[in-house]
Every structure is written in structure tokens, then in C-alpha cells.
Symmetry: C2
Subunit: 439 residues, 2 copies
């Protein structure tokens, strides 16, 4: 039997569109009670027994025996050696990507991440001091889904923010290390790295052990155990977000070569059979052309089985009435990756309210953004772009309000504060304000 | 027996300082498994039965019977009437506070919250679009701890961000409404309000019911049920933070009138017996003077019982070797409110790395910041200032990366991306990049 990839064909003009569309979008982030309980147990155990528990779980889950957690540390010279062992093309690509990612995040810091202040008419100083976190932990998945690009995308914004201590954890099942991941840690300026993974790594970073230092925030993607552990330690440390399956939505006016769009859909689908690839276009003939390219290109793809499962199970090619309707549907989905594959991308961009990253024009394939355009590839999934943002320098900074009330300002503010404080029944607040009033 | 408030006296020179200090700081955010289970049940029930469940829980927990959730809505004219029923001093105070809070948050948006972009040497456009959330829910506690100032502090940054739909929920046990809270909702420009509280209110906002609209993010403080519910819906909607007991830390060089500092400690302690008030000073005689003022002022305070319990149970007056050491200890605590009660506040401010808000100089009592200086009074507690920030305009905005790769840029980036993608075994990503290379 020939392998086929046939994303669901929908049309917004169909009477059953709303129901069909909802069914296709449905994805449940329901947590598994059994995983939650096992994670709770692992966290409690690491909190209590520290290194010893980390060693036991690493032996049990990763088949990696070590005498001490210290023996699981990847030293800086080992990271450097991994980089030096790469071929020139890989070295160049990693360095070029790191340089662009760094330069984008520096611009981000400059635009939105600097301290600011002003004085009001009474001479009162108001502002906010923006400072880096002291120490962060970066979780890097191991095994099959070990992505060096994720090391860059997590570590570089932390470094640009000014974090002094970036601790990476990466599981190495049966001791297999990924040279590109180690090299990326070198290029990105990771300060320490441990070959520990799973809930036990999250626990070690959140509570600290004798060997692994306690961090202030944990970022980076992981499996269901890692996600559950991050959610559980949230509040005691900061976390970035809980990632769901990856998604791409392409808005196409029919002017981009259909094979480019077909390959862009593949590039999402090849991640995972739960990944979602959706095309929205008002041009029915173009949708047919994309389907033909899917048929033509699929057999060439080494990951064709995953691609076919993903496109058949979760993909969709949707005919819309016009590009305006396509934009409105995109806003309902709030996709992680949004390609505006149009000759007039700037006409549509202002209509797009919710998306992790917006890729404008035919040349901007998602994959360029994934690796090296500069912006972060850690993006909100599953519609969470409605309320959350790409990973950025701001995730590694925090703010402190600065207030210096002048003597003159205290005379004005003191009366207002006292009035409101008495209204709330908080006389201590009121008196503290009144004491600053001139007699 | 005379009521006494005697915060623990510590000295950093003491051999037992570290242990004594750790014991005093200790506060456990441990969640109660029974509360967690009850909250999970309430959430599931509201998700399934919607309005009917909200009505039942409101009747059961708040003693408030209504025929429909719609009958629990506070209409705009009711909020306006509450404002108009206030006396002139209250009206003026509420409006003046709102004006200052708005002006500060507008400055915050301008400084750190605008979209930005740049073009690189190949003409590739990179940037970030900053947009408001569509709809947010604000939880306002009811009953004894009903604070109109919290309405301003949550709603105004949302409004400044440009949120079009601000939904307030506030429990009104046995139907008792707080006129100042309703008036504050009017002044702050809340769009809709419902007299619903507890986990059922959080559930209604997170899932939506027939009457209460689903929101994108929920902010605002609440009791243990509300906190547990917020943590549980986190990921499906955004949440602000999980607040612990409030804290103040005063760094004093001995130049501020000791009665001012005593009252500032009271103003924290009067919130709650778990609230924490700490004074750090290198001047032993000054610490004695503050204790004398505590003794003198306590009997005058209507909330003296709570103040005494808080100061006796969690307060501390700590003698340090010098101001530098006081700053270092403050960084370990990462306090919510940090007063630098010194003649040279700008000498110490750069040494202070972690705090929710920093109040500089003798005139800047925390209470001025709580009500009307302008900065937000929703601040990270329990040491979370190490990694989180005051509530702000940024909490009601999200960002979308913008990437428009030029044809020339695609030639450079395509090769880098393809190299890295092949290295990660993602051939679809590589091919999508390569297709954009000129033949």
C-alpha cells in the first residue's frame, strides 16, 4: 500500500464547518493522574534525599550508573571538545545561528528590557529597575528529540539578560551524548551542565542538592513527566510555559510555489504525529496544487511515516471565502507558527492578533525562524498565544518598582493614601502616611 | 495583661544568627491535599454544568441565593451609583489614586511595552509586535479583606494595555456589597462585574459559562481555594502569581524618626498574623528606639491584636554590622516591600538586587506606594521577587515575533538552517530552507 498524506479538506462555506473544524482542532492537555502521582513522589524524594535520589532515578530511568552526581557533570572542556570535534560546516552554522539569535535578543533587551524612571511635578521619582535573574536552569530533552537549536534558544536570551549562572540539564540515556547539543552549550555560554533528566532533574534544579545548585527559574521543553514536574514546582521557582504539540498555520493567497508550502507543512508534521499543520486559502485550485505537491514529495521524506500520521490525523486544508476570513480563523486558533504566504503580507499582518511568531512572505519559511533568523523558537502552543509570548530576554529578567517620594509629594500623597486606608480599615497604613505630613 | 509586640531581636554577629534567621523566615507554601481535591471537584463541576454549578456554590459558600447568574451581575449603573454615593473626600481620593496609577502604567507601557523592529544588512525584517490580551478576569476578594485599591491596581494596567474586556468577580457573602469596591470598579473602567467568588469564580472565568465569558488570563489575590484553582487552570489561561503572606523589610541607617519606622512595620503587620515585618539596622540604639515606639504606639491601633500576633510570631529587629551587610541580607530575603530608610538611599539602591518594590528615603512610606504613588501594589511575595515582577502592563500584553526574510536573506539563512536541520535529523526543515535558495 502506498503511503498517503491527505489532510482533512474543509470549506468555511460548508454547513458542518464549525463542528468539523472544532473536532480537528481538539487537543486535550488533560494530565494523567498516574504521571502526576509518580512525579509528586520523585519530587518529594529528591527534596529529601538530594543527590542520592538523583543518582537512583538516573540509573533507573536513563540506564546510566554513576558513583556521584558530580560524575554526571559535563565539564567545560568537554563541551569545548565537542564543538571542536564538529566539521567546519557544522561549526560555522552553529556559530552563525548563535550570533543572529544573540543579536536579535540584544535588540529585544534594548527595546523592551531596560530600567526606566521619571520624576513627577512634586519631584517624586517613579520607575522600574530591570535586573537579570541570578541563576537559571535549562532543561534540554535527550535521546531522539535532542535539539542543539533549543540549547541556543534557551541559553542565549538568559545570557543576554545577564544571568550569571546558566545550568543545563540533559538526559543521556545509556550514556549516549549528542555532540551537537554539547557543542551548542559551549557556543551559547552555558556555565554548568549535568547529564540528568526527567522529573528528577527538575526537582534537583528547584530544590538544589549537594551538587546541583538551586535555580530561580527553569525553562525548556520536556516530556509529560518534565511538564508535570515544572507545573508542580511553579511558584517556588519560575517556569517558562507548559508546551503542547507544535503547530503551523499557513495563510496563503496562492502566490507562493505550492511545493514550498507543502514542505512547510511537512516541516511541522515531521516533529511528532500530534503536531498540527493547517493551510488556509481562498484559492481552491491552489489547495489542490499543494495536495499534489504533498503527494509528490512525501515518498522522498525520510520521516514520511510520522509526516503522514500527523497530516492524516491532525492536518487540514481549509478553503476560505477570502483572506480576511482566513485571518479571522487564524485569530481563533492563535497558532504557534503563522506563515503569511502572500504577496502582500503587510496588508494582512495588522489583522493578526494572536500568534507565537508571524512569518511574512514566501521566503520566510518557518524553518529559517526555527534555526537562525534570530527570534526565539520557543513559542506558545495550543492557543496559549492568546495570553503568552515567545521565550525572550524578559523571561530571564525581573522588575523592581522604584519609588522615592519627595517631602512635597508626601504632603499630597499622604492625604489620598490616608483617606483610602481608613476606608479599607487599615489604620496603620493611614497613620504611616499621616506621620509624613508637615505639622 | 498588657498587649505586647516584641519582634525577635537578632544580631548578625551572633553565632546562632543563621539558624535563628532561617527559622524566622520559614514559611511553608505547602498545599493542603484536601483543599486541592475540593477545588478540583469544583472546577470539574463548573466546567460541566456551567451556570447551574456557579449558582449552587454561590448559594452554599456565600449564602447568596439567586435565580440566575445573570442576576449576580453588577450592572454599570450600579457601579456608577456606588461611586456617586461616596463622600467628596473618598471620591477625590479614589480618582486621584486612579489618575496616578494610570499615569505610571502609561509610562511603563511606553518604556517597555511597545512593538519594535529592525532590518538587518540583507533587508530581513525582525521584531516583535506587542498586543493586548482580548479579555481578562480580575479576582477581587470580598468580605473582610475587600480592598478597593486592589481593584485599581488590577484593572488599570489591563486598561492601559488596551484590554477590551475586563471582567471582575467579587464575592459578596450574604449579599453584602462594599461600596468602595464597586466605586473603584467604576473609576477603573471595569467592563463587567459578577458577585461570584472562590474556586467557582475562577472556574467560570477559565472555562466560561453561558453567562460569564471565558477569559484569557486571571489576576488578583484570593484565599487558599482561589490560589489552588488559579494554579490548576494555569496553562489553559494565564495567571499572575500565587501570593503568599505580605512582607516588609526596612533597611534603616538610623536617620528616620523611629516612630515612622514603627508605624511602617505596623502597616504590614496589620494585614494578617502571617505578615512579616523586619527591620535591619547597624544602629543598636536606633533599634531600641523603634521598639520603644512600637510599645508606645501599639495601644492606639484598632488592629493591635493582629499587629501583635504578627510581630511576635514573624517580626524581627536585626542588628547588622553595617549597611552593606544589611543590603546583602535583604538580597537573600528578596522582600515584597523594601524600604531604604536612609539619608543616602541612592548609595544603597544599586546594591539591592531582589525586591518587589523599593521605597527610597524617609518620606516614602510603603503605604504611599500601596495606594497612590503610582506603581502597582500587587508584588511578588515569599522570596519570589528573585524571579518575578510587580503586576504591570506587561501582564496584560503578549508578544508575537515578526520575521520577514528577504530573498537575499533566504540565501544566507537557508544554508545555515539546512546544515543544522540535517544535524537534528529534520529533513523537512532542511528542504523547506533549501527550496528558497536560488537555483
Amino acid at each position: 500500500m502506498t503511503l498517503q498524506a491527505a489532510p482533512l479538506r474543509l470549506s468555511t462555506a460548508s454547513k458542518t464547518f464549525e463542528a468539523d473544524f472544532a473536532a480537528r482542532l481538539h487537543w486535550s492537555a488533560d494530565t494523567d493522574a498516574q504521571i502526576e502521582q509518580r512525579v509528586a513522589d520523585i519530587l518529594a524524594d529528591v527534596q529529601q534525599r538530594g543527590d542520592a535520589a538523583v543518582l537512583e532515578y538516573t540509573a533507573r530511568f536513563d540506564g546510566l550508573d554513576a558513583q556521584s552526581v558530580s560524575a554526571l557533570e559535563l565539564r567545560k572542556d568537554e563541551l569545548k571538545a565537542a564543538f571542536e570535534g564538529l566539521n567546519d560546516a557544522q561549526k560555522h552554522a552553529l556559530e552563525a545561528a548563535a550570533r543572529r539569535v544573540r543579536s536579535y535578543h540584544e535588540a529585544q533587551k534594548k527595546a523592551n528590557g531596560e530600567s526606566w524612571s521619571y520624576r513627577d511635578e512634586d519631584g517624586t521619582l517613579l520607575g522600574q529597575k530591570v535586573t537579570p535573574l541570578d541563576r537559571v536552569g535549562i532543561y534540554v530533552p535527550g535521546g531522539k528529540a535532542a535539539y542543539p537549536s533549543s540549547v541556543l534558544m534557551n541559553a542565549i536570551p538568559a545570557q543576554v539578560a545577564g544571568v550569571e549562572d546558566i545550568i543545563m540539564v540533559v538526559p543521556t540515556p545509556r550514556g549516549e551524548k549528542n555532540a551537537l547539543v554539547l557543542a551548542a552549550a559551549h557556543v551559547a555560554g552555558v556555565h554548568r551542565a549535568f547529564t540528568v533528566g526527567g522529573a528528577q532533574a527538575v526537582a534537583a534544579l528547584a530544590y538544589g542538592t549537594a551538587t546541583i545548585p538551586k535555580v530561580d527559574k527553569i525553562t525548556g521543553p520536556g516530556n509529560a513527566y518534565v511538564a508535570s514536574a515544572k507545573k508542580r514546582v511553579f511558584g517556588m521557582v519560575g517556569i517558562d510555559m507548559i508546551a503542547g504539540p507544535s503547530e503551523i498555520l499557513v495563510l496563503a493567497d496562492g502566490t507562493t510555489p505550492p511545493e514550498w508550502v507543502a514542505m512547510d507543512l511537512f516541516s511541522q508534521a515531521e516533529h511528532d504525529e500530534l503536531a498540527q499543520s493547517i493551510l488556509l486559502s481562498p484559492d481552491a485550485a491552489y489547495i489542490d496544487a499543494v495536495q499534489r505537491e504533498i503527494d509528490r514529495l512525501l515518498p522522498e521524506m525520510p520521516r514520511r511515516d510520522i509526516i503522514a500520521r500527523s497530516l492524516n490525523g491532525r492536518g487540514a486544508l481549509i478553503l476560505t471565502r477570502d483572506m480576511h476570513e482566513a485571518c479571522a480563523i487564524s485569530n481563533r486558533i492563535a497558532p504557534e507558527h503563522l506563515e503569511v504566504s502572500s504577496r502582500e503580507p503587510h496588508k494582512w499582518e495588522p489583522l493578526l492578533k494572536h500568534a507565537g511568531a508571524i512569518f511574512l512572505g514566501a521566503y520566510t519559511s518557518e524553518s529559517l525562524g526555527d534555526y537562525c533568523a534570530g527570534p526565539n523558537h520557543v513559542l506558545p502552543t495550543s492557543g496559549t498565544a492568546r495570553f503568552s509570548s515567545p521565550l525572550g530576554v524578559y523571561d530571564f529578567q525581573k522588575r523592581s518598582s522604584i519609588i522615592e517620594v519627595s517631602e512635597a509629594g508626601a504632603q499630597v500623597l499622604g492625604k489620598i493614601a490616608a483617606e483610602l486606608a481608613y476606608g479599607e480599615g487599615l489604620q496603620g497604613h493611614a497613620r504611616a502616611a499621616e506621620m509624613r505630613l508637615s505639622k
